[in-house]
Amino acid sequence: MWEEISILRIERGGVYNTFSELRSLQETRDNLLSTYNSISKSDLEKLNQVMPQGTDTGGILVSLEKIAQDRSVRLRRAEFKIDQDNGTKAIQASNSMFNTIDLSFVVSAGYESFKSFLNALEKNSRVIDVTNISFSVGKTNLYEFIVQADAYYGKGDKKIINLRNINVVKIDTSFFADPRFIELETAPSPSTEIKKGRTNPFVPI
């Protein structure tokens, strides 16, 4: 019987330790929650555009089209490549906190309009890093700019399996006061009012 009591006491000691650990984790969680609640809704929305959880290529298209339209730039072609399995970028991606989308597009624009387009793209909260630009001067003042760029998205929700891991979670709200974050302009959102349905989807519009 004494042996049984010893085992029960050890088990009870473990429960008490876990109990006090949970109390401490509860305090950590409450502090995190209070920090989380201090973030404004607009900052959270902008953060979600900087680091969307999915590829959100639709959001990129909406941004490109809106920025182009506002500057009389014609978006003539756009292509996305989402490849997490091959290549250097995949290796980089596995070590980084986000995935990369290879984006290429062609725009037709005048020189000044293209500069304005590029400038607006650089300030867009759906961050797009232009890596390559090429164009040739033709007979008119409209040039075809071929652009390659990188866009980013999050690596998905990492579930906290072990509650103790919340001890390492930090919410650095100073990021929202960073001038580079403040300077970003909120990206246009895709329309939520979508009218669906066509009798014959193959009839040209």
Partner: protein, 152 residues
């Protein structure tokens, strides 16, 4: 005498066993009570909320990383505008960030204009090298060139 001693021993053993049983039950009950409190406490940790907090934390870290390396290629056009001589123009532009290079095809009014242009670019702190090649005198009297700018 022997009977008395045996009786005392028996009573002592009975008391001890009873005490142990009582203590065992006490430990067992407090263990069960502890487990129950622990379960309630664990249930208070809303996993959806913790996931959201973790997501925001990860997004901030990733966002910082992205803004640290955010590229602003529009500066290249400002650099060209500010530093191209009036005797020089370009008709083709190929920029590759990975190579940190910009290849421009263009024409200049003279070879000396190209020499001045070369010196202008090489004097800039952002430029590692400015290399003119394929210099060809056109029928128009202009000199065609390929200019490769390598950035630091």
């Amino acid at each position: 005498m022997f009977f008395r001693l045996s009786f005392i021993f028996f009573i002592a053993t009975a008391f001890l066993s009873g005490g142990l049983l009582f203590y065992r039950n006490y430990v067992f009950n407090s263990l069960e009570e502890g487990k129950s409190t622990l379960s309630k406490l664990e249930a208070e940790f809303d996993s959806a909320l913790i996931s959201e907090i973790t997501r925001v934390s990860n997004s901030i870290s990733a966002g910082k990383n992205i803004l640290d390396k955010h590229l602003k290629q529009s500066d290249i056009f400002f650099l060209l505008e500010e530093n191209t001589l009036p005797q020089v123009f370009y008709n083709s532009f190929v920029f590759e960030h990975a190579q940190k290079s910009l290849v421009l095809l263009g024409e200049a009014l003279s070879y000396s204009a190209i020499a001045s242009q070369s010196m202008t670019f090489e004097s800039l702190e952002q430029i590692q090298s400015a290399v003119f090649s394929n210099l060809t005198l056109r029928d128009t009297g202009r000199v065609a060139f390929t200019l490769t700018l390598n950035f630091k």
